[in-house]
Structures are given as structure tokens and as C-alpha cells.
């Protein structure tokens, strides 16, 4: 089976500062990969390289059998920090509709230069995406009026509306309470039945109960099956003592 994402000997640095060194990673269809590690360990950089928002200094990255840039309209992405002002005058419905503005599979990239209208089919897809994240009731709310958890659901709906093959999320639960965190991860578990998911998190104990594999990253990358995560491994990764929290593994 061919991996949907393949990274070979990828190096990346911001100026003189190396961020990722000799990263090898293969991710297969329907995997649910948790990416954990300390701050500034290269987690977000890894996602941005896969998305083609950053170019590696050396090494090779292949996404869905092509370059990250050529594949990225088939990827859904929820960023750690939304790239818009919270007081932007726009409704939830319109935000999710914007997830459909852009390149569509099977169409030329030049088609993105043609005028675009919201079609009845677009509206149906937006409705479906909002239903999927249980946010139908928010459709007419202004984006600035949402709570942290509601906003994450809406951003997830925007990432899902174009029906991506791979979903990448960067700290999707950083600004939400514990209950909303569990709800979002339960939702991701369901979505994993039809798409590959990569999720960056600082909470290794929490994500290990949902994901199928954990990638530990602190400049270099090591992958572990979730059952192998123990105190010694976490100590190695974070360089500090940590307390293990007992938890159930989902199957």
C-alpha cells in the first residue's frame, strides 16, 4: 500500500536555526496520527511543509502521489491561530462557504480565475458540513460572537466542506475547555472512518487515547504505536519529569 504522505530525509530551518532534521515519515490512508512534542519542537512546521506553505531546505515530500502544492486543494487544514480578525463582518455560513472557493478536483487551476457564485449544491454541502460538526444552529451567527469551542467546530466545517482526503489540525483544542476537547476528538474519531487525520497536540496523554500512532517530534522525529507511550519516552521527548495519567485506549 502506498502512503498518502511520504517524507524522506526532510530538513528545514528558519535562517540559521534548524527546526527539523532528517525527518522520515510515511502516513497511510485512514491513519489517525498524533504529532506531539515540546514548544518550538517543529510540530506546526511539519504540518506547513506537508501543506506546501513552507519549502524544505532538502529532502523530499510527496502528498497523494504529487507535490504538496499540487495536492493541497485535497487537504483540509485547521490552523492553530485563525488568520482573520474576530470582528470580521461575516456569518458562520459564509465562512464555511469560503471553504469551497478555490480549486476543485478535476478542474483546471485557471478555473479559479473565473467568477464564482454560491450554487444550491454549495449550500447543501455547507449545510451538511455544519450538520457533521453539530453546528447547524450557528449558521447565521457572526463569527465574532462564537465561543472558542464553537469557533473550532466552524473552522472544522470549513476544512471539511470541500471533502478533503487528508485533514490536518494544529492544536485544535488549545483554546477550548475539557468537555469541548473531548467532543472535538470524538468527532475526529468518526471522521477518521473516511479520511486520514494528522493532529498536532501538546497533550500527549489525551491524544494517545484517540490516535492510532504518535509521532514525537523535537527537531528529529520518532514514531510510536500508542500503547508504547510511557513515562520514560515522555521524559526523553520533553526533557523533564512528567506525571503519567491512566486512561483508556479507544479501539
Amino acid at each position: 500500500m502506498n502512503p498518502v504522505i511520504r517524507m524522506e530525509q526532510v530538513n528545514f530551518s528558519y535562517g540559521e536555526e534548524p527546526v527539523l532534521e532528517a525527518v522520515d515519515l510515511s502516513i497511510f490512508e485512514r491513519e489517525f496520527l498524533g504529532i506531539v512534542g515540546p514548544n518550538a519542537g517543529g510540530k506546526s512546521t511539519l504540518l506547513k511543509l506537508i501543506l506546501g506553505l513552507l519549502e524544505p531546505d532538502s529532502g523530499r515530500i510527496e502528498v497523494l502521489g504529487t507535490t504538496p502544492k499540487a495536492a493541497r486543494h485535497q487537504l483540509g487544514y485547521v490552523a492553530q491561530h485563525p488568520g482573520f480578525a474576530r470582528d470580521f463582518p461575516i456569518t458562520v455560513q459564509q465562512v464555511v462557504e469560503l471553504g469551497l472557493v478555490g480549486r476543485r478536483p478535476g478542474r483546471s487551476p485557471l478555473a479559479t480565475l473565473l467568477p464564482m457564485r454560491v450554487t444550491p449544491d454549495d449550500r447543501a454541502r455547507v449545510q451538511q458540513a455544519l450538520e457533521e460538526v453539530e453546528a447547524t444552529g450557528l449558521a447565521h451567527r457572526q463569527i465574532g460572537s462564537l465561543s472558542g469551542g464553537q469557533l473550532q467546530r466552524v473552522l472544522l466545517a470549513r476544512a471539511l466542506v470541500a471533502n478533503p482526503r487528508i485533514l490536518l489540525l494544529d492544536e485544535p483544542t488549545a483554546n477550548v475547555d475539557q468537555r469541548a476537547e473531548s467532543e472535538i476528538f470524538d468527532l475526529l474519531k468518526q471522521l477518521n472512518e473516511r479520511m486520514t487525520i494528522l493532529v498536532v497536540s501538546h497533550d500527549i496523554a489525551f491524544v494517545s487515547s484517540y490516535v492510532t500512532r504518535v509521532a514525537c517530534i523535537n527537531r528529529t522525529l520518532v514514531c510510536h504505536p500508542t500503547a508504547d507511550i510511557d513515562a520514560e519516552l515522555i521524559h526523553e521527548l520533553y526533557g523533564d519529569k512528567v506525571r503519567m495519567v491512566a486512561h483508556q485506549h479507544h479501539t
Binding site: 493541497r72 487544514y77 480578525a85 461575516i90 469560503l98
Partner: protein, 273 residues
């Protein structure tokens, strides 16, 4: 003010001035909301001030200053936009430099033309009473172009204005649409030159749209309200400055600023009763 309305029926130059104000209102009403929500007023200011360089050069070589303004505005928009997208860190410096360089070139060239000093003031502060009739057609043409582009490509422009990174990930040509937005803003700046002048352009480009944003929460609605408000403010400014023989440009800008102040106070009261 009644004196103005009586004179309006008698003098064609006043009718032309009123029409010029209304035509400029369409441009700033449509483009202002993008400037306000994208928070690029400083960038629009840089474009506006660099226009003087183009006008000075055009006047010196005996060409139409409006064509010089148009070329300079579009070039400044493309240059600022390109630097903003590719060398993020130096954006502010470049805008500041273009702001000053454009003014300096304009003043130098205009100073070499005998008898043009009076015109320099009218370009800097605008003189709606001196708009030649043929320029109304030019303004109407620019309005039609702005409206057509925004009507056809609003979704793509909105996607770029709202969240550039997501737009890029969706495979949208972000550079193209961002530069298109800046070129449209540059055209609006040229539209407003006669009405309020280069220095005061920012006020009409941002204040009516900012007032609209306090009452409605969608960009198309902001466009409608900002257009109506700009039309009302430019008509009132023209009318109030007529009898005491004041320059209309600054009067329009001060009225817009007063309206913004009152509206901000009222909207604060609405939010925190």
C-alpha cells in the same frame, strides 16, 4: 445651505461638482469596506500619496495629469502588494518610502512648471468645484469598472481578504486577487483626487465604511450604506461650504469625521447600555 440649493439650479459648475461627489461616493463606498476590514488604510495612504509623483511627471511632459495619477497609483499598488506578499518584514518601510518619494517627485516636477503652483494645492486638498465636465465620464467609467469587477469576483476577493492562508490552501491565486484588490483601491484613490485631494483621500475611503460597519455585519451591506453615506456627506459638505466660501474637500472630511465620532459614541452606548 438654502443658498447652495438655489445656486445649484443656476450654475452648471455646481451641478458638475455634485455629480462628481456622488460618482466618487460610489467608488469609496464599494472599496472602503475592503480597506476597513482588511485593515490596510496605511497601505491605501501610501498609494494615494505616491500619486502626486505621477501627476507631476505627467504635467511636466504636457500629458493629462489624471493619466499620470492612474499610472502612478497602479504601479504603487503593484509594488506595495508584491513586497507585502514576498518580503513581509519591510512592508511598512516601503509604504512610508513610497508615500514620501511620490510626494517629493510630484512637488519637484510641478515646481519646474511656471504657473502650476495653484494646481498643486488643488491636487493635495482637492477642489470639487473645478472638476471638468469631461472628467465626469472618466469617473463614471472607473465606477462601472469597479462595480463590475467587485460584482463578478467578490467571492474570491472576500476569500483573500478574510483569510489569505486558507485561500492559498484552497488553490486560489492569492497574489493575483490581492494585487487586483490593491489596483481597485488605487483606482478609487484616483476617483477621489478632485473631491477631497490626495491628502484627505483616506478619510472618505475609511470613515463611511467604518460607520457602516458599526451597524451592519456583511461586506455587501457595508458597501451600500457606505456609498449612501459618502453621497450624503459629500453633498452636505459641498452645501455647507458654499455660502461661507470654504474649500469643500476639508469640509467633507470634517463632516465625515464628525459623523464617525457621533456614530462611535452611539454604537458604544448600544453595546454597553
Amino acid at each position: 445651505m438654502s443658498e447652495f440649493f438655489t445656486a445649484l439650479f443656476q450654475y452648471q459648475f455646481l451641478q458638475t461638482a455634485l455629480l462628481a461627489g456622488l460618482l466618487a461616493s460610489v467608488g469609496c463606498g464599494v472599496m472602503g469596506p475592503y480597506v476597513v476590514v482588511k485593515r490596510i488604510a496605511f497601505l491605501a495612504g501610501g498609494i494615494a500619496h505616491s500619486v502626486l509623483g505621477g501627476m507631476g511627471v505627467a504635467l511636466y511632459f504636457g500629458a493629462d495629469p489624471l493619466i499620470g495619477a492612474l499610472v502612478a497609483a497602479v504601479l504603487a499598488a503593484l509594488l506595495i502588494g508584491w513586497v507585502r506578499l514576498h518580503w513581509r518584514t519591510s512592508e511598512d518601510t516601503l509604504i512610508g518610502a513610497l508615500w514620501a518619494i511620490g510626494m517629493a517627485i510630484g512637488i519637484l516636477f510641478i515646481s519646474r512648471i511656471p504657473g502650476y503652483q495653484a494646481d498643486l494645492v488643488s491636487y493635495l486638498f482637492g477642489n470639487i468645484l473645478l472638476v471638468p465636465e469631461r472628467e465626469l465620464w472618466f469617473m463614471a467609467g472607473l465606477d462601472a469598472l469597479l462595480l463590475a469587477i467587485v460584482a463578478l469576483w467578490h467571492r474570491q476577493i472576500l476569500a483573500v481578504v478574510f483569510d489569505e492562508e486558507q485561500a492559498r490552501l484552497r488553490g486560489l491565486p492569492v497574489t493575483f486577487f490581492y494585487l487586483l484588490l490593491l489596483v481597485l483601491i488605487a483606482l478609487t484613490v484616483v476617483l477621489l483626487i478632485h473631491v477631497v485631494g490626495l491628502i484627505l483621500v483616506l478619510a472618505l475611503l475609511t470613515l463611511p465604511a467604518a460607520i457602516a460597519g458599526q451597524y451592519v455585519h456583511s461586506i455587501p451591506r457595508m458597501m451600500v450604506i457606505a456609498t449612501l453615506l459618502s453621497g450624503l456627506l459629500s453633498t452636505l459638505g459641498l452645501a455647507m461650504s458654499y455660502a461661507p466660501n470654504l474649500p469643500p474637500g476639508p469640509a467633507i472630511v470634517l463632516l465625515a469625521a464628525l459623523a464617525y465620532l457621533i456614530s462611535s459614541l452611539l454604537s458604544r452606548r448600544r453595546r454597553w447600555p
